[in-house]
Assembly symmetry: C2
Amino acid sequence: MAGVARKNLRKVSFEPDNVEVIVPEGTNLLETAIKAGVRISASCGGAGVCGTCKVRVQKGEVETKRTPKLSEEEFNRGTRQACQSRVLTDLVIYVPVESRLEKAVLNREAKEASEVLAGGWRFTPPLRKYYVELSPPTLEDNISDLSRVLRELKRQYLLRDMTVDFDVVKNLAKVVREGGWKVTVTTLVTAVKPSTQEKRRPRVIRVEPGDTRDKHYVLAFDIGTTTVWGQVLDLNRGKIIATSVEFNGQISYGQDVISRIAYSQKHGLKKLQKAVIDTVNTVIGEVLAKSKVKAADISHLCIAGNTTMMQLLLGLDPRYIRLAPYTPVANMVPPVKAKSLGINLAEHVYLFSFPSPSSYVGGDIVSGVVGSGMHQRHELTLFVDIGTNGEMVIGNSEWMVTASCSAGPAFEGGGIKHGMVATDGAIDDFTVDPKTLEPKIGTINNSRPKGICGSGLIKIIAGLFLAGVVEPNGKFRHGLNPDRVREGTDGYEYVLARAGETQTGGDIVITEVDIDNLIRAKAAIYAGCQTLVKSVGSSVADIERVIIAGAFGRHLDIESAITIGLFPDIDRRRYAYIGNGSLLGARLVSFSTDLLDDARKVARMMTNFELSENTDFMNNYVAAMFLPHTNYADFPEVARKLGRGVRV
Amino acid sequence: MAGVARKNLRKVSFEPDNVEVIVPEGTNLLETAIKAGVRISASCGGAGVCGTCKVRVQKGEVETKRTPKLSEEEFNRGTRQACQSRVLTDLVIYVPVESRLEKAVLNREAKEASEVLAGGWRFTPPLRKYYVELSPPTLEDNISDLSRVLRELKRQYLLRDMTVDFDVVKNLAKVVREGGWKVTVTTLVTAVKPSTQEKRRPRVIRVEPGDTRDKHYVLAFDIGTTTVWGQVLDLNRGKIIATSVEFNGQISYGQDVISRIAYSQKHGLKKLQKAVIDTVNTVIGEVLAKSKVKAADISHLCIAGNTTMMQLLLGLDPRYIRLAPYTPVANMVPPVKAKSLGINLAEHVYLFSFPSPSSYVGGDIVSGVVGSGMHQRHELTLFVDIGTNGEMVIGNSEWMVTASCSAGPAFEGGGIKHGMVATDGAIDDFTVDPKTLEPKIGTINNSRPKGICGSGLIKIIAGLFLAGVVEPNGKFRHGLNPDRVREGTDGYEYVLARAGETQTGGDIVITEVDIDNLIRAKAAIYAGCQTLVKSVGSSVADIERVIIAGAFGRHLDIESAITIGLFPDIDRRRYAYIGNGSLLGARLVSFSTDLLDDARKVARMMTNFELSENTDFMNNYVAAMFLPHTNYADFPEVARKLGRGVRV
């Protein structure tokens, strides 16, 4: 139309990727990079305040706004914030390594997680979006719509031998025409065996009209026995844009996997499947609302979970997980359309399940191991994931053995009189005055106390034990401050908070039954680790690195955990805590096909060791039923604190 | 139980395959071969009357019944009919080449079809069944059920890198246990590009408890605009065990593809899709009833059809087939679960659609070309498929060009006053006494006449033309035998059968309108062939082989077809007729993965030539609107018969 000047087009080349893109003059440089498929870190999402998207203009001119994030020296050298710059002329842009997304994602994760994370991977999500402009058909060139799309993908991106979902074909005629012969193609690759150099065959899962590359989101999920975590990831920016958590709707059908399996045998699998699918749908609803992403713009769903949770989610009968010799249905469950399971996502979305090595060491552990980078390092590493079950992995980049044992729900606040999960008002910090025995408690969000979470429980019992309030056998010493240590309805108890101070309006106490439950739980984990380490001819002292994953929130106090005898009494600097390893791994494989391959490799590397009928484990378990242990020699530092000579 | 002696087990080895199998003493030798996966021809299904299953006993003893099919000399040399023999001792059996199924299938097909069929292929169906006995899990070996199955397939059959359907995993735990750790695995392979030596990755589509190798059936279908043909194939015996045909339920929505597309645009695709799916289900019901095969034992469904029929079947909007530049949605439609389309087959059954090169040259033509072996030979071949549309292919093993034109429904009995498809009571043979003009007619099944089928129509009009009853312009000569040539309600007509002789109770006649319809139809086909041959710089006389496929049943008379000017007037020995080429190809690719690859190759080789806006074609069409043609020089033999000098 008259009066609307057509904008000049500019060619922008990005180094060192050697990628070119044509954009109208005036286009934002960060958007130009995204369009070209060049991944630049932009933590603040382009607001100009983080300074992570610095690039160097090697040729040509940009219009830029200088912010305090750019020093004068940098500015003079040609460095610019991509998000603050607009294209004026043809350009050659150099993206320095520190601005590249791979590094940025890694650093951010690493800072959060004590630098024990997987490294060396490229930012190459298994999901990709390709924008193609097709030449409209003519009588001389009237190949099919699908052939036209595939021809252009081959010509422009060298993609060949792709497989195509039937669903893609269903609306293709409409889509290509609606988009005026401009479409965006979403492809998915699956893991390959790294050894065989097997060729990756991308699968076309969706074709959309027009250019939709700016909407490129996937979901990462951890399905735990107790909680279900979900995240929306933005694959253009390599970041989490929303996280949410809900209790697993199956909770009312049993607290641990065994009781869930028993329930499914009695009342049918469907009910449990529906319960967890409902929870997944709730979490999806929450993260979509938080992130303002539409369900239709989600391209993929990656889920890690223990073997039972995954089988229940997928509708696979879990009964043989519970019966000796404990076989799961499949280690690698083939991808399945999320919608076919009742998950509220579009028809094109596949559910990827982490491979699970065995019935009691599942995809959540593989996910955690991959996320922690344990499979990349030579150090002898002990990986422990603590939830309702305790799972352990020992090994390194060459080999791994695994085992699991039932810890009960104590670490997640279950079976504890005033136990709760680690949310608002949960007591998660505790010290006790050694003289008065008066407590000082801390709660999540500093709210008025409501109950005790797993990490709080460990801290409380460690504190009371060191103060001499609790004996090594888990019983309260009698004849102490009667306001705090008193006989309650369930035997002796310690008063943590009085009715007037709490949200519940009643006293919050810790009982001997609670302590007994915790001791059983920690004894199982410790005995499991001990037995597994011994099974490979090593001892606890040989362990060079301990990685703790699990349901404790961010509040686990390693010192307290060692004090009660949950973890080995070795140099504290060897410990690292990664939080929810399952969710971490699900996120990282969504960012990197390298790590997706690693997940497959790790699952195959793992050799499982059955503790359930192992007499060594039973002996170790009985010996661990004291605070910290019957054998003080294994806990020298705790013994020192107690002022206790070591019995040899 | 006491009194029931356990049968002795015997080891039977088959040469030259070098396969062994263990069976109880007394087992039938043909069944033993099937169990061992050795494919022996047995045309009569084991009745002992065909003599195709001869084998030589090299070691050991069989109990046998000698039939007249075995000469004394053969018998003395150790030759036996496998179906008439029982295993007595351990055996070594030699299967001579003439008894091997590959050869047998080929010969049978070839005999039926004038030896123009595809050759040189191996009997290697894309569907295979593997029987595996698994070691039950133990605490030391408690890998997943799926891994156990895959491990055994690798160990026993060297199958690796398989993909597995999610549906297989769903009931796997139950299946392996129900079968006592003995299962039968069904795998499917798809076509690969022969040039790239791409690796074939079999897909596990089904796991059944126990040994079900004896039930190994697939379906081959041809979806035509007018009729839908279906067959049950027994992959153990390499033979058709039932065939059925029904009118395409879409007929009431229009007689040709264009009217069907128009209807789908007006009233929605769903209705047309449902109509053809219902027909497919009816045909499936019929062939299953005839063959006594259960639906659950069908492993695969291979369908060939024209592009519009396939898009309607699959629910793909066909509107752009009708609009210039005539693009189909996809040339290669990805496999889709038959059940998801509403087809009454088990969940594991995939629908394979023949690749279609263009909107008007579809998978039915690719199927016919592959079935005819045209792609394997050097001779310049013209392939013509005649139905509602006429499709032509010209080329050889190096190149192929294709074209299509609308012929209308006349060749299938449509638009003809007393037209009908080629079933019971259809007039398919005709001679006329040149003096009395009295007819002699033949009908299908020798039933009382009911109507006229396409091949009958051609014979009648050719006969009447040569007898001088019909003029070159398609009009009746007046003043002839008034009992036979009379004025009817639709103008002049010829009486083929009188009311008293027919099933319908009325006269069966042929009218000038019928003749006009046939002339239009034959003119389109002839003009199409002429134009296409010329487009590659050749002329009709250069054609070394003409392959006719189509809806005529087995009764097309080539001489009559040439007489009316449907086909070129060249040496009759160059002609071959393959009947329903679409169904033939669907059957052959079900038998051979080699031919499946060929189908993909052929579809890619074909270059389409649009006749719709071609002026050459229009001129040729107008010139062909006479019997046999305006240009007698192109029909020298017909001119000679007419006693007519050739106008040059």
